[in-house]
């Protein structure tokens, strides 16, 4: 379809497969995400997108297949090791610490990368050295007015924004965003698109989204997943007009 891209591959999977007690959620997936691109992963609910993210970030071990980041094999690494390899993820279901405020969240993330979390003999005031950077990031995602508000009290869209701040705090080379705009109103969706565009410079982004406006605005390439398998891949326009994709999505619509 597309001519081979001359740029190096940032994230790559070969023959990635995941069985859940006999149910094959991800089947023999090959994926190549080019360095510096924004790559969308689309497909109906249950297609295996989140499972693929969980595999790529070490949250679940693959049944078969390999994963490489910038040519380094990371198959079998733990999530924290993969985070230290420069691959950060957000969660589809907002996954925060309810009693911590946005600044404390980001401080925790910054410390996670910088190290020093095991120092049980120090006062937690040493975390203050992350404060400036943390507040910058909180501002970056539009939560400047809410730095002190416990995450449990944030509105849904604000929590999604905080998820983004946490991913950014890791200063990753590769970011995996699982449905960053799910459940957002139009305004927040546009803000998120602008944010992803801004942070994507110099980074590689893979994101899952059901909103075709988001996919169309952001993605350089799109991979369509269906029942755990890659159904199609290419640019947004190529995929949008692909016969198999249309059939699959129409089939999906007729169920709904």
């Amino acid at each position: 379809m597309t001519p081979p891209d001359p740029r190096p591959v940032a994230l790559s999977a070969r023959g990635l497969t995941k069985d859940f007690r006999g149910f094959r959620a991800v089947k023999d997936v090959d994926l190549d995400v080019v360095d510096g691109e924004v790559h969308a992963l689309v497909g109906p609910n249950g297609a295996g997108k989140t499972t693929l993210f969980n595999l790529l970030t070490g949250f679940i071990p693959p049944t078969a297949g390999t994963i490489t980041v910038h040519g380094r094999d990371i198959t079998g690494r733990t999530p924290e090791q993969i985070a230290h390899e420069g691959v950060a993820r957000s969660f589809q279901i907002t996954s925060l610490f309810d009693h911590l405020n946005p600044r404390e969240h980001v401080e925790l993330a910054l410390q996670g990368m910088a190290g020093g979390g095991l120092r049980f003999w120090r006062s937690d005031s040493v975390l203050r050295r992350f404060r400036g950077r943390a507040e910058e990031l909180v501002e970056e995602v539009g939560l400047a007015d809410l730095v002190e508000r416990p995450a449990g009290e944030l509105a849904y869209g604000q929590k999604r924004a905080l998820e983004m701040a946490l991913v950014l705090a890791l200063d990753p080379k590769v970011m995996l965003l699982d449905e960053p705009t799910a459940g957002m109103g139009r305004e927040d969706v546009d803000r998120t698109i602008a944010l992803v565009r801004r942070i994507a410079t110099g980074r590689t982004v893979v994101f899952v989204d059901h909103n075709m406006h988001v996919v169309g605005s952001l993605a350089d390439h799109v991979t369509v997943l269906m029942a755990g398998e890659v159904l199609a891949r290419g640019t947004y326009d190529e995929v949008r007009t692909d016969e198999r994709v249309i059939t699959a999505y129409l089939g999906e619509d007729s169920h709904a």
Partner: protein
């Protein structure tokens, strides 16, 4: 390997877990509370029989040690008797065989408890919830078996008799429970200070994060298991310190100290007092030790039934324990440190043993 776990529900006491804000913030009120606590601790042997005062202090430190693990890491150990009792034997032997002054003997016991806890922690933190409780219980039962069998060293069922309380030749301390209490109190307080230090350290922050949302903590680059092993070892050290002092203050080490009932009792005290506050363990120890002493001295022989009933009533009526409820009434808590609702995303990062 990756076995992300949903620990927080480990405890079964769910919503009672508070954030790090529970134990004296850096407010003036917090310091006032510490001052008041110290005054009460200093006055205690004037109001209760000194050996009972010593028991309260030891159990309070033991409960604080367990709370460090249960309240802040969300891990329910049902084998902490191994550390309390293991240290009691080591401290007792050190006092008998080498004539070590009791603070050093207790410290040696604490070091032994930590050395024991390290491999146990490595093997058990891979499990969570009830499985963690079971694995820790199994290890403690193994130690019980060894202690019971190794009669030559431990005295088996008779325990270690005639443990001397050496204290640099200060006879008042060595002979009288009243003065012994004052010699031991600084060690107990130092242990509690240490627990406070841990909770309010960078490590403590991460610990609470691993408790509330381990998957997210991993995604932020934290090796959750390392944090759990370390807190397990630190908790065991404090439990050991308490157990060592307890044994020497009694002048003997009984097999009871490594029995599962002792593990159960410290869980009861901690949960009764309220977890995730450190103060809770102290409150729980005061209530339970005084209650047991009162029942025992009034010749009642169904102590377990009464303490069990008190436990059930407190847990049902005051879900956040004695301390949590008290501090609510006093209005100390802000919404911030209130019951934390954890949002461990179902499905995300959860691996059902594939």
């Amino acid at each position: 390997m990756s076995s992300p776990t949903s620990t927080s529900d480990a405890t079964g006491t769910g919503a009672a877990l508070a954030g790090t804000g529970g134990f004296l913030g850096r407010s003036r009120r917090g310091w006032l509370l510490v001052g008041l606590g110290l005054v009460l601790a200093l006055a205690l042997p004037w109001f209760v029989y000194p050996p009972v005062a010593m028991d309260i202090a030891c159990w309070a430190l033991f409960a604080v040690a367990l709370d460090l693990l249960l309240g802040y890491a969300g891990l329910l150990s049902f084998g902490h008797a191994a550390f309390w009792g293991g240290s009691a034997y080591v401290a007792g032997l050190a006092a008998i065989e080498w004539g070590l002054p009791f603070p050093l003997a207790a410290l040696l016991g604490a070091v032994f408890a930590m050395a024991l806890a390290w491999p146990v922690g490595v093997l058990s933190v891979r499990r969570s919830g009830i499985y963690f409780a079971m694995v820790t219980l199994a290890f403690a039962q193994m130690l019980f078996f060894v202690v019971n069998q190794w009669r030559g060293l431990t005295g088996g069922e008779n325990g270690l008799q005639g443990v001397p309380a050496h204290f640099f030749g200060v006879e008042a301390v060595e002979d009288q429970a009243f003065y012994f209490y004052y010699a031991a109190l600084p060690i107990i307080v130092a242990g509690m200070w240490f627990a406070w230090r841990v909770v309010h350290s960078p490590f403590g922050r991460v610990l609470v994060a691993t408790r509330d949302n381990p998957a997210r903590a991993r995604a932020l680059g934290y090796d959750v298991e390392r944090y759990r092993v370390l807190v397990f070892v630190l908790s065991a050290g404090l439990a050991g310190l308490a157990g060592g002092i307890f044994a020497i203050s009694h002048g003997f080490v009984s097999l009871q100290e490594v029995a599962w009932q002792t593990s159960g009792k410290v869980v009861l005290i901690t949960v009764l007092g309220g977890i995730g506050t450190l103060w809770g363990g102290i409150a729980g120890a005061v209530v339970i030790v005084l209650l047991e002493d009162f029942l025992a001295s009034s010749g009642f022989d169904g102590i377990g039934i009464i303490t069990g009933a008190v436990f059930i009533v407190v847990v049902l009526l005051f879900r956040r324990g004695v301390w949590g409820t008290l501090s609510d009434l006093l209005g100390r808590r802000t919404g911030r440190s209130h019951a934390v609702e954890r949002s461990i995303s179902a499905g995300d990062g959860e691996e059902p043993t594939a």
